[in-house]
Symmetry: C2
């Protein structure tokens, strides 16, 4: 029973079989990635935070990259859910639904810049992570569906894909510029909601006259 790490309130059980270590490690790594950046975490430090020996993580993860992938995977789940919820809060086919998805995306980046960077910078050496790629495509799918609804076209229409990609590029760039502090001067005082609506309207245009 270490005094250094905060005692786990939920699963005290026995200090030995700790029962929740995998989830607690992911959370510890999430915090470390947030604090020190995607490359600034160490397995040892994560174990320390979870109040566990430095060998313990290897009972749950094959190696260091696998832990990072687990964090990214969990983050993509949360991102997708919040995008879906944002869309669901507005009428199907509305511009607001599209803008809300974008806002959810930007909010995620702002709330967890380190994890956001991790998710999108994980390309190197992690090409063989089909589940991550698939989860990313699911997120994009949310945008595609909203764009399709707005345009009154099927989701696999090339125009829909193109417009959805434009929206994604914009929101993605805005997110990165924001968390990297490059947007301070220009975009510090803007109203995000109006901004995203303006962009959505610009990319998707007015609804088909009908």
């Amino acid at each position: 029973m270490s005094d250094e790490a905060p005692a786990p309130a939920v699963t005290p059980k026995s200090a030995y079989h700790h029962g929740d270590l995998r989830a607690q490690l992911i959370e510890a790594v999430r915090e470390l990635v947030e604090t020190h950046g995607p490359d600034g975490f160490s397995v040892a430090e994560a174990a320390r935070r979870a109040g566990v020996s430095s060998a313990a993580p290897y009972k749950h993860f094959k190696d260091r990259p696998e832990i990072l992938r687990a964090v990214a995977s969990e983050a993509l789940d949360r991102l997708r859910i919040s995008m879906e919820q944002a869309a669901a809060a507005h009428p199907v086919g509305s511009l607001e639904a599209v803008a809300a998805i974008g806002l959810a995306y930007v909010d995620f980046a702002r709330a967890e810049p380190g994890v956001f960077r991790l998710v999108f910078g994980l390309t190197e050496g992690h090409e063989n992570a089909p589940d991550l790629q698939q989860k990313g495509e699911c997120c994009f799918g949310v945008v595609v569906r909203a764009a399709a609804n707005r345009l009154g076209l099927p989701p696999d229409d090339p125009l829909v894909m193109r417009r959805a990609y434009m929206l994604w590029s914009f929101v993605h760039g805005h997110s990165f510029l924001h968390i990297d502090g490059k947007a301070r001067v220009v975009a510090e005082n803007i109203d995000e909601w109006l901004f995203l609506n303006e962009i959505s309207r610009g990319v998707l245009g007015t609804p088909p006259a009908a």
Copy 2:
């Protein structure tokens, strides 16, 4: 005279006073950042590549971060120059000038993804690098001026700034999605030039009727 490192063809001089080490270190680090990512380089490895002892770099740079900053600084110079050249190749106030700047930006990211990531991810711990920030703002200035010319407004007009920032966000996001491989399915076969023209027109609109 090490056989492992390629002998410097330009400045053989004496193997001792090597004369060009600073530049050669920056180049070595550039390559390492390209190969292993912004955090994957080490001072030791860079020295090895330059055919020099691991202590030598400290005659030219205070510490590790300073080397990275030097690489970023040099990269920002090149980026600005290529954006300016791209703009200069088209009529002042044309949509093509704007699109060409965007293309230069995307091309830079594609040609040097590691360095591109370095330049924009250097925020953490490097806040006190006013020269880097200034060079970044110079790059943005190229976009702002082109947008101002297109819209027929002064560069410090709020609308110009807003539209220039939109363009930047889009191109920045597109660049990142591209180098992170997220755009494969959607944007693999697009014509970049048409794409950037479409975006530029969408954001800046048709020229003021005059």
